[in-house]
């Protein structure tokens, strides 16, 4: 990860953290890329507790929790910080059921996930199983749909394509989404 200036925070890469988790919980890691390690949903709670309590990791601080709509599946991204050891990592978990995405809640491990999971539920529609108070946060009860999903309010010609190219940009083939 290119960083801005000499970083003091030790960023534990996804591959590294996946390796450590794999040692403790074989089969808990679904896949690992440099940015983050993806956990299996059913092993999430114990892995998180391990990440929090392990003396070498001590990720006591859940920096950020958010959900991403990857079109084929949803993923929930956890950015973890260890305040005492000054290190950081990111883990992910996938929810592949588009109609009813379910992910175990980590409120039991980090209470700070409470509001952030509610936000992800509110805007992305991901049900966090085990969350003590999973209600809409910003939108009113009874709001129809999950606005941050890519297919929210699909137009007549399919999903609104967004900004694919800059105005006047050459039409050469694009990588990624295009």
């Amino acid at each position: 990860m290119p960083s801005n200036g000499p970083s003091v925070t030790k960023a534990i890469a996804g591959l590294d953290i996946a390796h450590r988790i794999e040692q403790k919980f074989p089969g808990a890691v679904e896949e690992a890329i440099p940015e983050a390690a993806t956990m299996k949903a059913d092993r999430l709670a114990e892995v998180c507790a391990f990440l929090r309590d392990d003396p070498d990791l001590k990720f006591e601080f859940l920096s950020s929790l958010t959900a991403v709509d990857r079109l084929e599946y949803f993923e929930v991204v956890y950015h973890l910080t260890s305040i005492r050891l000054n290190q950081m990592t990111a883990i992910k978990v996938k929810a592949s059921d588009r109609e009813n995405p379910r992910v175990p809640s980590v409120t039991g491990v980090w209470v700070g996930a409470n509001l952030q999971e509610r936000e992800a539920y509110d805007l992305m529609g991901i049900v966090f199983v085990g969350h003590p108070d999973l209600r809409r946060m910003f939108l009113w009860d009874g709001f129809d749909g999950w606005p941050l999903r890519k297919d929210y309010l699909v137009g007549p010609g399919g999903r609104f394509p967004g900004l694919e190219r800059f105005p006047g940009e050459s039409q050469e083939p694009l990588g990624g989404r295009g």
């Binding site: 990860m1 290119p2 960083s3 801005n4 200036g5 000499p6 970083s7 003091v8 925070t9 940015e35 983050a36 006591e60 601080f61 859940l62 920096s63 950020s64 958010t66 991403v68 709509d69 991204v77 950015h79 305040i83 000054n86 950081m88 990111a90 980090w110 209470v111 700070g112 996930a113 409470n114 509001l115 952030q116 936000e119 805007l123 809409r136 946060m137 910003f138 939108l139 009113w140 606005p147 941050l148 929210y152 609104f160 967004g162 900004l163 694919e164 190219r165 800059f166 105005p167 006047g168 940009e169 050459s170 050469e172 694009l174 990588g175 990624g176 989404r177 295009g178």
Partner: protein, 380 residues
Amino acid sequence: MTVQTEPFVVNLGPQHPSTHGVFRLRLTLDGERIIDADMVMGYLHRSMEKLAEERTYTQNIPFTDRTDYLAAMTGNLAYVIAVEQLCGIEPPDRAQWLRTIMCELQRIASHCMAVGIFANDCGAWQTPVMHMLRDREKVLDLFEMACGARLTLNYMRIGGVSRDVPPEFMPTARKLIKDLPKKLDEYEDLLLENEIIVERSRGIGVLTPEQAMAHSVSGPMLRASGVAWDIRKADPYAAYDKVDFDIAVGVHGDVYDRFVVRLAEMRESVKILEQALELIPEGPVHAQLPTATVQPIDQPVAPLAIRPPVGEAYGRIESPRGELGFYLISDGSPAPFRFHIRSPSYINLTPLKLMSVGGTVADAIVILGSVDIIVGEVDR
């Protein structure tokens, strides 16, 4: 036999003088004691995360002004740092120093409001906040000099800042930071030992360090709980690794400590500014950007056309309210695939119920004031 009273539900807000915007706190009271507290928000929700997915990376900078509108500079910076991480851009030195200066000025301005409004929440009838607005205005004058705006600044750019500061900026800034310590002394004289402030805020809304960390509380709130954690030191961005400053921490984790931590941070900001104004080098303020190949049709759009490689980045800085992070996912198109704001105001509200249950309505107000939320950032 005991006196049985009915629980009594009071809606503090959305229209209320002390909710710092349109924020609603639903309190269930037994007499004056709070037995339950529930937050209702979303009155200012503008769906920025969705809007940002349809706009280019550069077009998204103004959104970040409007989340935390009392600290627009830090909002800008957190976002551009995330984009720079995504693209691997290294801004030039002068830009880094300018960012440091602006962020610290912004921190002073924001803490002025936070401390002043906190005193207001304690019931001081506008006097501290009026005095603090005086100093905030001077900071805003500097911002106006630098970028023409006072509130929604839009000063930071991906790869640097929008323009260099005018020549009269540095002398004015030097004069301001020369005067500021005297003003801070004045505030400390007025507020620090004020018996009523101490009575109102000591022992109220206590968070132990373990609770604070578990609740993902950040910024002055976390430091007030005794945890020496500051991203400026832990993960230095801009030019913070080249300046010397201390982390202000509290030792009781109560409302009073949050207030003294903010006061002390203003002093530390002055310290940083003193060094930054000495050390800032001359040079360009904008890096060369890897722009997409765009044919200029009628106007030069080239410098804006950034197309980061596929990937994701979590850029975070220490905003006046805590850890402000931007989680960006790029799919290689001109617009971010996912744009998430980790807003400190919102997440700092997590332990609100824990802190306010058992206290009185007056305590809840003071606690809410000590969290220092900006509803624009809570709702986004």
